[in-house]
């Protein structure tokens, strides 16, 4: 089924699903979109309309705008803190918490940390923000890592000069540990329990220092991390072990902007890139060739190297790390119908996928094909 496209007259830098309350078997219906490169940028909230269970996927409803709010500077990142609070990162260096009214009628600014990221004589864009309620971590072009608490006006901790180059993305590994990626191709682990301002661990690819743009952690296994970089390579790392990634896959022909493991079904991975494509990666273990052919294999696997960890039980080893490439396959499918301008962002929750492009269009898949939970 083709995704629904909606042109929203602004280039989209981030799209995020609003989290559905746990326990309810609902599909997400509301998403937030942030714009960039406009004279006045906005954060907007959209709804997909009622999910009528009688009509069986027939409706082709376009998303409609519920509310929006002006945003100072480009929206460089957007994350939902919880059901009604949204954190936005700005190119002016500010990090803001926006509150969504209960009936989604208005979006207002709850709190802003102005110039959290800055140079001595200039503004430094904040490049990414990640939350694990009530804590937030932001990173920016000034190489700082900043820890905040959602209800406190003052910043909790700043790691000055954490990096001599721009930090592009950050993710929580454990409650007190974060992982950042920077523009000289390094992954750095930071432990907030430690007093010192140096990273607990540094990992990088040997060879060319290709800037890394995105990172995401496996939802169940905290030591597995996927990164994407300027050359479009998707790397799967095991942070406990060594300095080399487990798998290197030639995913895209240009910068990869976002990589996401599916939160409830981590055998599925989604990547989007400057080259205008959105790929859905699925690792299947032990299925035979015939089922793969039936489902329309359309993949570009390069290498699936690495030795399985010694002493580990087979059932525990994630299919992303298993070395035997004859047993575990990776298949990739294109999610967008044709080549578009750069796909800047994607988000996936349950069976729904939303992504935004530089062609000012938002694409929504309400039922991911070939997807089973």
């Amino acid at each position: 089924m083709d995704p629904t496209a909606k042109y929203i007259s602004q280039k989209i830098s981030r799209t995020r699903w609003r989290p559905v309350p746990a326990g309810l078997l609902q599909q997400p219906e509301v998403f937030a979109a942030g714009s960039w490169d406009n004279e006045s940028n906005r954060v907007s909230i959209w709804s997909l309309g009622d999910d009528d269970s009688d009509t069986d996927g027939e409706f082709d409803e376009e998303p409609r705008l519920l509310c929006d709010s002006e945003h100072d500077g480009d929206v460089t990142d957007l994350q939902f803190l919880d059901g009604d609070r949204l954190v936005s990162a700005s190119s002016s260096g500010a990090v803001a918490i926006l509150k969504l009214q209960p009936d989604c009628q208005a979006l207002s600014l709850a709190h802003v940390w102005e110039r959290a990221h800055r140079y001595s004589c200039d503004n430094a864009p904040c490049t990414a923000v990640v939350c694990r309620s009530p804590e937030l971590v932001s990173v920016g072009e000034d190489g700082r890592v900043i820890l905040y608490k959602a209800d406190q006006t003052e910043v909790v901790r700043v790691i000055e000069n954490a990096d001599s180059s721009t930090i592009h993305a950050v993710t929580f590994l454990r409650t007190t540990e974060v992982l950042t990626v920077n523009s000289i191709g390094q992954l750095k682990m930071w432990d907030f329990r430690q007093q010192s301002d140096s990273p607990a661990q540094i990992l990088s690819l040997t060879g060319d220092r290709v800037p890394l743009h995105c990172v995401d952690k496996h939802p169940n296994q905290q030591h597995i991390v996927a990164t994407g970089g300027q050359d479009g390579m998707l790397c799967i790392w095991d942070v406990r072990q060594g300095n080399t990634p487990f798998s290197l896959i030639e995913a895209h022909s240009a910068e990869m902007w976002e990589v996401h493991f599916h939160p409830s079904n981590p055998n599925h991975l989604f990547t989007c890139s400057e080259d205008g494509s959105l790929l859905h990666w699925e690792t299947t273990s032990g299925s035979d060739m015939s089922t793969l052919l039936q489902r329309g294999w359309n993949s570009r696997v390069v290498s699936h190297s690495g030795v399985p960890l010694a002493g580990e039980d087979d059932s525990v080893v994630s299919s992303w790390l298993a070395g035997d490439s004859s047993k575990n396959r990776l298949e990739a499918t294109h999610m967008l119908p044709s080549q578009t301008l750069s796909v800047n962002s994607l988000d996936v929750l349950e069976q729904c996928l939303v992504c935004g492009t530089d062609g000012e269009a938002v694409y929504v898949h309400r039922q991911l094909p070939n997807f089973s939970i």
């Binding site: 490169d37 864009p125 190489g143 060879g207 060319d208």
Partner: protein, 631 residues
Amino acid sequence: MEEVDVEPSPMVIADLNSFIYRHLGFEWGPGDLLVYETNYKLSAGSPLVHVVRKDEDICSPILRKLFNESHLIFVGLQKIKEDVPSKNKKSQFVSISKNYRSVIRACMEELQQNADGSLASQYGDQVSILLAIELIWNLCEVLFIDAAPAGSLLLHLLDWVRLHKSDVDARAREVLQSESPAQHQSYWDVVISLVLQGRMDEARQVLSKQASLRAESSSVFKRMDVLLQTMPIFNPTGTQTLTEFDVKWRHWHEECDRCLQDNTFASNRHLETIVKILVGDEDTILEQKELLSTWYHFLVTRLLFTHPTIKPPDLHYYAQSSMNMFLGPRAPPEPLDIILLSAFEFDLHQVIKDCSIALNNWWFVAHLTDLLDHCKLLQSHNLHFGSNLREFLVLEYASGLFTHHSLWQLAVDYFDHCPEFGRVYLELQIERIPLDTERKAIKVLRICEDRQMSEQVRSICKIMAKRALRNNRLGSALSWSIRAKDAAFATLISERFLQDYCNKGSFTDLDLLDNLGPAMLLSDRLTFLGKYREFHRLYGENRFSEAAKLLLSLMTAKIAPRGLWMTLLTDALPLLEQKEVKTRTTHALHSHFTVVKKLDEDIESTKTELLRLALARNLAMAIVKEGTIET
């Protein structure tokens, strides 16, 4: 395209009223006009500079969707391959033309829905312009792209008129849904409108409401019904040839004429009017001006009832005369009318020229001309400035897009498809995009790298590296110079590092220096920096002989900058105290020391003394050690 046919009309710029009594200077920009005051007398306050934007549409949020969606269609059109047989291509082109038109319609609908309050008049204007554009596009599609032959030509023209005169449906519905349709005041207007548009079945359906009432004149209505029913319509997919159709039509026409002469319908003046229309009486049709509302409707109706097998080349005789008859001697034709007339005369260039003048941005002419060019309908019309018409218009459109803070990304694709000048335009414009964030710079660089514009890559990377350096982000600066493969800048950055080291006594940004990898080889100075840092590391790990060897190799390879040799030798001092240094090394160090001493006369004497002493002691130790035989 050389001269303008009409006098340009003066345009008042709204906010510049205060300029009335002052002198103005101006300067053209790519999409804007810079206007400034020039006073003879210096009055208090500073002179103002205004930026006047020619094209308002580009800022309208709803029209932005038009630009984005049409961009997608444009790119798809360019990808159609040359080797597909022409019949298939024609249908592809027609469908692309329909895509463009549906995008225009979607935009119109949205503008109409949102036209309330302050935006009402602005949106209203935009809607009427879009309506006109769609009308012209549709006509061009019918006449040029679809290029229907005689017979189907009229059918397509009828469709065209029906599409653009939609109020008939609404009125018909209103009449039919009323309690007694036959008594409705618009009843006969509806019937006649339907007849004028050639919609005979629907006209009969409405007419039947009348017939059921009046039993005594039912035979007259039945007669009319028969006439309407038997009107021949050309079927392009059928087996009937045009001549056969023509013969049939003439029979029918004679039948209608006979009814008129026999005064069959004299009892009812409305039916009399209808039969006169069916016969093709121009005066009667002209009397229905209100219902026709436009001269092109009149033209098509006239042709329907007098000349249904019209051939394309003959259209323009009828077009010109219809316009004159409809508008009358005193009303001058509007620009839209002139454009449509040129279309009927199959004068493509005139159509494009007049549209370019009448509209305020190049969107319409650029896309239409591009499509027509793909259909191979434009002869190569060489302009004075070298490129052909299509390329000129697309370049103008794309240049206008480029001035927009957001839509510049679309313009890149348009430039790509202008083979002669597109690349040059892109090279000039892409460097002028303001780069506020690294992400935007990365996107611009990707565009340049994909097209092998190495000059622009270098210059953009240099801008970003310089900015990073100013903000003391040495790692970022280095990664930008690596991307541009800019050895000179890498050298500059390494100098900065070394300077910092000399000032502070330790290295900053160790995470970068320890992990330079192959990038180290970009410039000599950078290699030195990396190796020097490695030396420090080796020393810190107590691996003295390796450290010494490294230091020596740095000096021998002459990649160490001269100014730092003294520092290097001083670093060697503690090493000389260690036991593992070999004679060879010491001798080599000593020779370097003498070189340095010769070059730089005013080195501190204490330092030189210390060094000399250390070298001598080390040499002694080494000789003894090497001379001793372990027993």
